[in-house]
Each structure stands twice: as C-alpha cells, then as structure tokens.
Amino acid sequence: MAVETKLPPVLDIIRSNIVKYGNPLAMKGSEVASWAKGFNLPKRGDILFYTGGEYQLLPFIDSLVKTMTHIDQGSKGFSLMMGVRNVLDKAGFNAEKVYASVLAKDRDRYNRVCNKAAHILQRLGYDLCYPGDEELYSGALLYELGFWEDLKEYAQKVVDMIERTGAKTIVCLSPHAAEVLKLVYPQLVPGFSAEVKTFVEMVWEQRDKLPAIPTSKPVVIHDSCRLARELEIDEEIRDILQAVGVPIVEAFRNKKWTTCCGGPSKLLFPELSHTMGSRRVDELEETGAEIILTSCPYCLASLEGGQTKGDKTTVEDLIEFLYRGFAA
C-alpha cells in the first residue's frame, strides 16, 4: 500500500519551482542570465559555460531562509503563507521572490561571480557558449531531496538544452551541478555523454597562464564536500593557488576530511545549519588565515552567514579571488 507522506511544505515548493520554472526559486530566465550582458557569448559552441543559476539565486535563498527561521513550518501561519503564495502564483507573481527580495542585498555581488568566472575562463583561452535565458538549473536538489521521478523527466529537458548548444564539454561553476550531471545523469538519460568539468579543473589545466596575485598573507581553503569527496578534486585548488603565488594554510579538517558548511540543511533546519556554518568558520579561523576560499555557491553563502560580528576573515569564492589577478 502506498503511503502519501506530507513533508514540510518548503520541499514541495522547491520541487515544483524546479519542475515548473527550471529554477528552485522560480527565477525568470532573464534574471538568471542578466550577468551575461555585454559578453555577447554565442548560444552554440564546444564549451558550455554552465552557471545553473546557482550563484544568482543565493541572496534569495538566504532571504527566504531568514524569513523561514522566524516561522514555525508546522504552524498555521506558515500554511497560510503558502496559501498566499498560491494566490500570488495564480495572479502571476512569484511569491518566493516577493518574500525574498525584500531582504535581498547581495544580488549584484553573486551575479558578478558568474561574470568573473566567464572572464577568467576566456582569458585562459577557452571559447565559451551560453544559452542565456534558456539556461536551466541542474536539478541537483531534486536528486538531493528524493524527487528522483521528477528528476528523470526534468533531466531530459536539461539535456535538450545542453544539446541545443552543441557543446562537448560542460563547465560547471557549482560542484552540485557537476556531481549530478556527471554521476547521476548518465543513469537517467540514455546516451548522455557530454564531458562534465568543474570550473576548478578548467582553470587547473591552464594555471600557468594565470596572473600572479600579489599577497604575502596566507589563505585557507574550505573544501566543498561534493568537490573533495564525490568529485575528488582537492589538490587542484592548491596547485592553482601555488601557481598564482599565494601561500596556503591548511585547516585541521580538510580535503577528503573537510567539514560540511551546514548548507544542505538550510531549507529544513535553518538554525542548525547556521550553527554548523559558524563552527566551520571557527575551524578555518583557527589557522590564522584572514581569507577563506571556497569553490561552491552554497559553501560561500553558508560560511558568510556563519561569520560573527568581529570576525576579521573574509569569505570569497575562488572565482572572486582569482579575478583579483585580472583586475589588478
């Protein structure tokens, strides 16, 4: 006998947004692609620059979570809000965005991450293509949260999108996208054979061309779980930093033993997620480094969120850090 289990509503909101709108927060394609203005990237080419919309949606997720932290998801208030959402939805508004954008501050910064990544790759000699407002989210959260049936159908749409670009290689900015495209898609979409790479790997291959970043201050690397464990990419980041002449200090728990930033539990257990983020920041700060580098949108947001007042460290994405060399 089948059991219909009612889980916290946020899970279904995320699910249906991905399935209906191609993005966990129902952002419009034009919003996802707005970073690319001025780049004039072709829609077809050998190397697909794939943002998956993940850096772009970060400030909205954070705001949504900040709202949710103060609301009991089992309460009537929350259900009511979900009701309001439905009303807004029918009226053609995007409810999550209405809630979320109220508190959205960091939009520009995260949009700029995509911008900087494309810039770096181009300067390293890669010819990129980008599907613009047709770009779809990878569906990693469908996989993560158990919506495997939905993913099966959804993955086909993503593969169609990829195939329209004619690309042989997909460069993923997010390790979550890379994981699902590389390790899960081949099981779901027969014949899917594009080469999936992370931003880190692409840069690593051309690291000799990177401009030096003049600094004597060491940085500490927060390895993302997906990157270090599932994708087994950790030494590459160290090689890259060595190539640009930046000293590294290592945290007690790093590489394959890295500590999770707490990001995955942000949707259901935001307070706990925040505690874990703070603890990881503390671990990283024990090294004495003033710059924390990571290469994952969720790690970036979680570690930043986990910083406390008076913290002297800054958290940057590897993309932002490497861009310093080009901007100088």
Partner: protein, 423 residues
C-alpha cells in the same frame, strides 16, 4: 494511506535547536570529539595494520551478510552443541517474550550495555513484567536513573557532565556524592557489586558471534560484563543476527577493528563465551555451573535485519560494527548528540531506524537531517555509504513506497531455525 509529518518535523527541529544550545551537550561533545580524534590518531599510529585489517573485515562482513541464513543455522547448532540453548526471534515482541520466559517471575537481572536492548525496549518490558533490572554499564546506569535514552552508542551518557551525575547519584543513593568522577565511580562499584552476586540472571549483547564455535565476543572496559555474565546462575545473550561471522578467527579480526575504531585502543576486557560454565575435575564427569552460569541461552534477533540483508541497496548497513566513529565526525551529531537519532543515532542510525526501529515514519526527520556530506564514509572502517542509502530512502518516502514486509518465518525455516525455536 496518508501520513502528515509536518508537525513531527517542526517538533524535531525545535529539539535539535534546543540541543545545539544546551551547554552540557556542547561541553561534553567538544571534549568527546577531541578525545576521540586524539586517541584514534594515536592508536592508528601504534597499530598501523588497522586500515588493512578493516578492509579484510569488509570482505568478511559482506560475505557473512550474504550467507546470513546459513551462518545463523550454524551458529545456533554450535550453541546447542556447547550445551547452550539457541533461539531465533523474528521480531522485538518475540525476543522480549522469550527473554521473559527464560527469566521467570519475580527475578532480578543485571544487564550489560546493548543497543539491541534499546531497540526492543528490553528493560522496560522486563520491568513491566515485575523483573528488577539493573544496567551495569556506568553510562547506562546514569541514564536508567535519569530515565533517558542513550545519546551515543558507546558512551550513552556522553551529554551528562560530572556535576549532573553527582546530583543524580546524591538523590538516588540518599547521600552526598561529590562531583568527583572517581568518587562517583566508586559509589556505583560498591552498589553494583552486591547486585552481581544476588541477581538471578545476567543479560548481555555480543559484538561478534563466530558461527563455527558458537563463541560470543563481547568487548568492554569496565568489567561489568565479566561480572554480570559470570556471577549469576543464568546468562542470556541477546544479539542481532547480523553479528555472525563464519569462523573464530574472523570474529577476532572483526573484534580488533571494532575496538580500534571505537576509541578503545586496547580494551580492558574481551570476553569470549561459548557455553555454560563446566568442570570435569571430579572423575572426569562433566558437570555444569561450576563457578559461572549453569544455564546459557542465546536469542538471535532478526527484527527487520533479514529484510535489510536481502535488499542490495541496504545490505551494507548491516556491516556496521557499531564502533560509533562516524558520529564523532558528523557535523550534525557534533552539535546535537543523540537528538539526531531515534533509537539508533546519526546517519547510519537513520537507515537502521527505517528497518528495525520505528520505520520510515520515525526515520523521515532523521533522513532529512543528514547533510549527505559523506565524512562518515571516510571514518567508517566498513566504508558504509550512508549518503547513498539516505538518498534511496528519501526517494522511497517521496514516492510513497514502503519497506517491503516479508513473512519472516520463511526466513527462519530457510535456515531450519524453527526447530531450535521449539526445542
């Protein structure tokens, strides 16, 4: 059928948040994690063959779970050959009923630490039947007095600092016990000593069972298992069917890996018990019950394990040695202790909850707490892929699938086990 878990999730989230702000838990966990990491790193250096041995044990456990029905049959036959009595209990109800039947009415029992005991609510059941039960493991004893469930599988009272222990003991013993660990330990020693020698029955679990010899291997440090399995006239072992490995030497390998990853370094005691106490010293006539128990019983408990064993997606969960190493490396467990758990704790605990203790309904909040970060896999001597299984179970919940229930008597007859049941 409809199942609304939104309230459960909300309450559970509150509980997790509360735990993460509890100073006692934070103090205890910080100490415990550091101590675990230091000791384990040091003992791995001293015994560098351990990771290779762990790999060998992975092979032993994989085969043993595949051949579980056969091994169960062998183990039961071995116990009977050794003049013990072997039983197979298909579920928790059968297991506790069997134990109660062996114990009889109005008796006193001393009990060693056992997660299986928690799973089948053994103490509660026996107490309801009028049996007096004493937990002899210090941590479990503290929780028995505190009326709480274990917060770690090896250090059940991991979350209770000495000051709180002193309070609990002062109240129970009716005299001032200072917040001094040595004094607290001495107080329990004095109290328990009497219980060992006046109890009717000793109950223990087992870390490993060797099918060929019927040897029960029990690892401990306190000496409470020695006493509670040696002093009373009756010893009952209650053990999950997944603990059986083919040979005695396999069992030794499993035991060594277990204690090394369980932070024991070198355990104070490794008990190997294969039957009742006996002597042939007078005229070579074998007589049972010399100094130790005259009667020896083993209850092999299934309670969902054979379902797990036969599902290739989940059978690896049965390789778990219960060393508890994963918990010290789990970012959620580090801040919430056993609040991230039902009976079984942490990520691996969410899989066990689904199959043996609470079902998908109780497992759901735990399954969605797991970060799927995968550090437990790095720590696990059996490299159990918890994130993969968590994903599978989330999928089942979302799709409304249930864990297939099979007729377990079938599993039992496959191994001719039912014969032993009636004997």
């Amino acid at each position: 059928m409809k199942l609304d878990l939104t309230k459960d999730f909300a309450e559970y989230a509150k509980d997790l948040n509360q735990a993460s702000h509890d100073e006692n838990i934070q103090k205890a966990m910080t100490r415990a994690v550091k101590s675990y990491r230091d000791t384990t790193a040091e003992t791995m250096k001293r015994y560098p063959h351990t990771p290779d041995l762990a790999l060998e044990v992975q092979g032993i456990k994989t085969k043993a779970i595949e051949n579980n029905p056969d091994l169960l049959q062998q183990a039961m036959a071995s116990v009977e050959r050794n003049k013990g009595k072997a039983f197979y209990a298909k579920d928790a109800a059968e297991a506790v009923a069997l134990a109660a039947q062996i114990i009889g009415k109005g008796k006193t029992v001393v009990k060693g630490k056992s997660m299986l005991g928690e799973e089948i609510h053994l103490r509660e059941y026996l107490e309801e039947q009028g049996t007096e039960v004493w937990e002899t493991d210090l941590g479990e004893f503290i929780l028995q007095l505190k009326k709480e469930r274990p917060m770690h599988i090896l250090s059940p009272a991991i979350h209770v600092p000495r000051e709180q222990v002193a309070e609990i003991f002062s109240k129970f013993f009716g005299k001032e016990v200072p917040p001094d660990i040595a004094a607290e330990v001495a107080q329990v020693r004095e109290f328990m000593r009497d219980k060992y020698f006046t109890s009717d029955v000793g109950i223990s679990g087992a870390n490993v069972v060797a099918a060929d010899t019927g040897a029960m291997v029990i690892i401990e440090n306190e000496g409470n298992v020695r006493l509670s399995t040696g002093a009373p006239p009756v010893h009952i072992v209650m053990v999950g069917i997944e603990k059986i490995v083919p040979t005695f030497s396999d069992a030794m390998k499993v035991a060594e890996v277990t204690w090394r990853y369980a932070q024991y370094g070198i355990p104070g005691y490794v008990n190997i018990i294969s039957g009742p106490s006996k002597t042939g010293d007078i005229e070579k006539v074998t007589t049972y019950g010399a100094h130790g128990p005259k009667e020896f019983y083993v209850i092999f408990v299934d309670n969902g394990r054979s379902l797990m064993a036969r599902d290739e997606r989940f059978s690896q969960a049965l390789h778990c040695l219960r060393c508890g190493g994963c918990m010290y490396e789990c970012p959620v467990f580090q801040v919430t202790a056993g609040h991230f758990g039902y009976t079984y704790l942490g990520g691996i605990g969410s899989i066990w909850t689904a199959f043996v203790s609470g079902g998908l309904e109780k497992a759901a909040p735990l399954l969605y707490t797991c970060l799927r970060c995968g550090r437990c896999v790095e720590r696990c001597p059996m490299s159990i892929n918890v994130p993969e299984m968590v994903g599978q179970l989330r999928k089942m919940i979302v799709n409304g699938e249930q864990i297939a229930q099979e007729d377990l008597t079938l599993a039992a007859t496959v191994g001719n086990v039912s014969q032993a049941l009636s004997s």
